[in-house]
Assembly symmetry: C2
Homo-oligomer: 664 residues x 2
């Protein structure tokens, strides 16, 4: 494919930078201003994301309420846990010379502080919410105090009694931590301008380039992430050197520069160069962060081969290694992708962070290519992984997102730090607590995923009640209000409130499941085929576009090669995957004993979806393999049972759950 | 249940002990002599195992040839790897004061030396094979040189620069290593009498009791095993103290004496006391060794509650957590049992050592209860796990025994040490190389699993060409020759060659799959119902018993609650599970594309089994979940395909394989 040079400039900040040097010319100062408040700001893309302040999400509705819970509860929850777990204290201990004795947490504990700092920055920038500004300043002071004179900053390496710097690139996570630090600095710079944190980050970025350039250590970090940070910090500052360093890391990887380990070098994608790989593999978060960085690098360097390679890898990953929920990662052992079609429900790993990383990758591909199918992936993953991870109160989380809970389980005690990544109920915090802070920064910047612009118009990718007031790629102002109760309803009404006198193209994504969707404009209804529908006209203030997405619940069958769910169906309802919870079955029944009747379509009953079927009392043989095809069965009880959206399972106490319902 | 006090004596050695103190009275000196050459010699049991020298296995046939390969190749292979990997050298380094600098291998490397020593001892004792006697003497010298004055012996702990003794009971494996040392000493004492190794072991056993008694460290080892060693060493020496210490360890466990870990205390069975548990759980080898020790302790202390508890746990484990192959352990992550019915084929762990441990447990339960179903489990596991692990030449091994190989894989290089427990082909050695030595000691003592006696007669549990010459529980001599080509044929002929003038009961196990088996005695054929068939009469020399087990290959269906194989069937042939390998499909076809036709029974064609079905070219959708029940399919090709016994899969180079064949 050819990359359209829509926005060839390195990205500046939304607010006026105080003293960041812009080394590359930009083509439009207006673009620069508007493009500032965005987590991802490619210099080149087919679609241009709009800034967080250009979208105002209603405080109610599916996403609006979750973004509010994130702001009101999750960020503060994470901050108090960072303190309680001692991961913030590590920086104080470093400054006080009390390391390694007082150090707490794993190698990547530093990064959690940076991720939450990033969340606080977006939260402030997107809404003007000042509640966390003091905390951000405190984070900055405490982190800064631990930085070495040459820019290096890590609480786990380099001091007497600690391992030397970069002596364990496989597992040390030093560059990984830097990646999150740089992303946090981007958020800070784009929302508040240059300050001590941003300057600290620049010293880190320079240190990385000094240390890992062509004349430096010729290796990479065991966990990709620094590439994403370097690219975005390069876009922010215009420093070509940072982009180059990201590309160096990308090209080095895959040639066996890291040690072989029990799970093979595929674990950290050091088995095959990124541009030669055929599919994502190994540790899911690592693979997805790396692929996202590869897209960034491809667009910054005009490397269409690389972009096509990542597109093909992701396409096969979606076709063969992705759960119905959009979740990725089949293995608990190495938190990794399985081989093609290895998608067990009951040991699905589907790490929350992998879901976030998949959204990051899909979003970058959507920007680069304009292909609305990436919007479908973003939607599926947001509704069924990102929304599923946190509890309704935003203070406990799933780390892994199983599709089948076989035992109720009661090993999580709220208010304590869970040792386990997988639990039957959500936990307040984890020994490895990457997911809560990742959730926090994602929700804090979620409005950035709703819409894009190009020269001709506006593209709406996700549907939520919101007001959008933006500038098209050619500088014209355009604004719409989106009224919808999606996904409870499939009715999405756009009302134009700002429009130029010239034609504007409004593009609406039509999800792949939305067969027979319609669009009504000016009283005329026409079909809206799957993919996207475009209305190009001279809009007047008050004009309405009504998109109607059919919200009939539906059965979904799996590919026959997915052994784990053969003979089962799932039920989907709009963008949401549904699940059966034991609390909704007759007392004493197990979700595994429910056999669904697929001759009766799922239907809406009251506010939810119901399916028909039979609760089968199983025969209990001594040996579970038998010589006759038909099982001996006990009592059978016909039943209509309600299903709940997968994202809200586990909110009624310990129980069993399954997404894929037995048909036999 | 009530334990019959058939053999109330502590077990002595087969050869005259030089100076082992017998502290308990025995009821029969003849029993003592005969009972010596047995790996497991309960003081109390319903059935009494017979000594290794009382069974002479033919050098051909299924087991005879494998035992020969073990003797000729595997033992030497393991010995050279123990040297090459430096695990034997650790003892030299210890004696030379060169630890920790020169230490090689994991915490449990010492135990591998002991396991192979045990194999050499049984090999010598069972057959008089002198080839490894010199090596055994060398092992003894090198190990002895590393023992501390107080009996402690471990190359990984206690020296300057190493962790202190018993400072990491969760993962240190110190007591685990001792357990294998004690089992090795039992083998040595029962086959060669007391010598330096046996005396060394006595110092170890005393050290354990001194250190971990009621007044000592009130904890247990993270890996059960020392209990098995202490019990058998106690049976050997008559030292009640060793039995008591085993019981102390057993009763301590399950009360949270070890640290909580990522996978929970169930990993090392420290979550629930053994006598309260409902099912085996956690790390499979740990769970099975512990359960086997619990049976030993139950019979030695007349603890029927404990025996019943283990029987119930194992019964549920067999019914809900066991693969068709007899394999146990569903998780790669923690090498652990899954929850009930979590039995994925493609990520089946089924560690070879877990198979061996399950045989050890089933054998002990068979001895204690006489229930022939335990003989079925022993048979299933021997044919489909223990025989599957080693290659035909006995020089490479599966560590994990998957039931579904999805990709050919080529990551194993013969002659090198594999980092991975799971490979698509067998490996010469592993970083964690517990399985090869465990295989070696199991095959070296395999003849011990064929038959037992009680006062009234002989029980034949496994069928192999062999000569048995033994003494019944009441002292009468009895001998039979077993002629059979089992499992290629279901015909088993017993010919009596030694018989008393009084009635003898010969009991033959009839496997659960052998519907319509018959027994012919004196020209009269009668049905032999599943379970066991008994012929009690005054036998004359030359009398023949002919057991005919129907060997028609058969389809086997799984319990509907095993999601992983729903809509699939397996094919079994006598005691053997069969498998489909890609090398037997039309070129370019994948085993996952073969749909078997269950209306055509599997049939014997030539020397193997063939099934009918269709090779289906799958539709390749972009998203593997669809809204219509019927998949789009490409070309379909009817085919008859041969299946191979699972134990011999992977012997024709890298390929794909599955045990459970798709029916839809």
């Amino acid at each position: 494919m050819t990359l359209d040079r829509v926005n060839p400039a390195i990205d500046p900040q939304h607010v006026a930078p105080k003293d960041l040097t812009m080394t590359r010319k930009s083509t439009s100062s207006i673009h620069q201003a508007r493009r500032g408040m965005r987590p991802v700001a490619p210099s080149v893309s087919r679609l241009t994301p709009i800034g967080l302040t250009e979208v105002t999400l209603a405080g109610t509705g599916f996403w609006g309420s979750r973004v509010k819970v994130n702001a009101d509860a999750t960020i503060q929850h994470c901050a108090s846990w960072l303190e309680r777990a001692g991961w913030l204290g590590n920086f104080d201990a470093a400054a006080a010379g009390a390391l390694p004795g007082l150090r707490q947490g794993r190698e990547f504990a530093d990064s959690e502080v940076y991720k939450l700092f990033e969340a606080m920055a977006w939260q402030h920038g997107a809404t003007g919410d000042d509640r966390y500004e003091e905390l951000a300043a405190e984070f900055t002071r405490r982190v800064s105090a631990a930085q070495d004179a040459d820019g290096y900053l890590n609480t786990n390496f380099g001091r007497p009694g600690q391992q030397p710097r970069y002596s364990d690139l496989e597992w040390g996570h030093e560059l990984y931590n830097f990646g999150h630090l740089l992303q946090a600095a981007v958020a800070r710079a784009r929302t508040s301008g240059e300050d001590d944190f941003v300057r600290l980050a620049r010293r880190v970025a320079d240190h990385i380039c000094d240390t890992f350039g062509d004349d430096g250590i010729r290796s990479v970090c065991g966990h990709p992430e620094v590439e994403l940070g370097l690219i975005e910090f390069g876009r922010l500052t215009g420093e070509r050197r940072y982009l180059e360093q990201a590309r160096i890391f990308l090209e080095r990887r895959g040639h066996g520069v890291l040690a072989d380990i029990e799970w093979g070098r595929s674990y950290y994608q050091d088995d095959v160069p990124v541009r030669d790989a055929k599919v994502l593999r190994g540790h899911a978060v690592r693979a997805l962060y790396l692929a996202a960085a590869a897209v960034d690098i491809a667009v910054e360097f005009g490397d269409t081969d690389l972009l096509e390679a990542v597109e093909a890898q992701y396409a096969r990953t979606i076709a063969t290694r992705t759960y119905l929920t959009g979740g990725m990662g089949s293995h608990h052992q190495d938190e990794a992708f399985g081989e093609d079609f290895v998608l067990p429900s009951d040991r699905a790993y589907c790490e929350s962070c992998a879901g976030i990383a998949s959204v990051m990758l899909a979003w970058r591909l959507l920007l680069a290519t304009g292909n609305p199918q990436y919007g479908d992936i973003v939607e599926r993953t947001l509704y069924n992984i990102v929304a599923a991870a946190p509890a309704e109160d935003g203070r406990s989380f799933f780390y892994a997102n199983t599709l089948h809970q076989r035992i109720p389980g009661d090993d999580v005690v709220l208010g304590t730090q869970s040792k386990r990544a997988a639990s039957s109920t959500r936990a307040s915090w984890f020994d490895v607590s990457c997911c809560p802070n990742n959730i926090a920064r994602t929700f804090a910047s979620l409005t950035g995923y709703l819409a894009t612009v190009d020269e001709g118009g506006l593209q709406l990718h996700q549907y939520a009640a919101a007001t959008i007031d933006t500038e098209l790629g050619d500088g014209r102002r355009f604004g719409v209000s989106v009224h919808t109760d999606y996904p409870n309803s499939g009715l999405v009404t756009l009302q134009v409130h700002t429009a130029p006198q010239t034609p504007v193209a409004v593009t609406l994504r039509v999800p792949a499941w939305a067969i027979a969707a319609t669009l009504t404009v000016g009283g005329v209804t026409s079909s809206a085929p799957v993919g996207s529908v475009v209305v190009e006209r001279v809009f007047e203030v008050g004009d309405e576009l009504v998109l109607t997405l059919p919200m009939t619940p539906r059965f979904t069958w799996p590919d026959e090669r997915i052994d784990a769910v053969r003979g089962s169906v799932a039920v989907e309802w709009g963008p949401r995957v549904l699940s059966l919870e034991s609390v909704d079955l007759p007392a004493g029944s197990h979700v595994d004993d429910f056999v669904v009747d697929t001759t009766v379509p799922p239907r809406i009953d009251g506010v939810g979806v119901v399916v028909s079927g039979t609760v089968v009392e199983p025969h209990r043989p001594g040996w579970p393999f038998r010589s006759n095809p038909q099982p001996a069965r006990g009592r059978q009880l016909a039943a209509s049972v309600p299903l709940v959206p997968y994202h809200s399972w586990g909110n009624r106490g310990p129980g069993t759950m399954r997404v894929w319902l037995r048909t036999v």
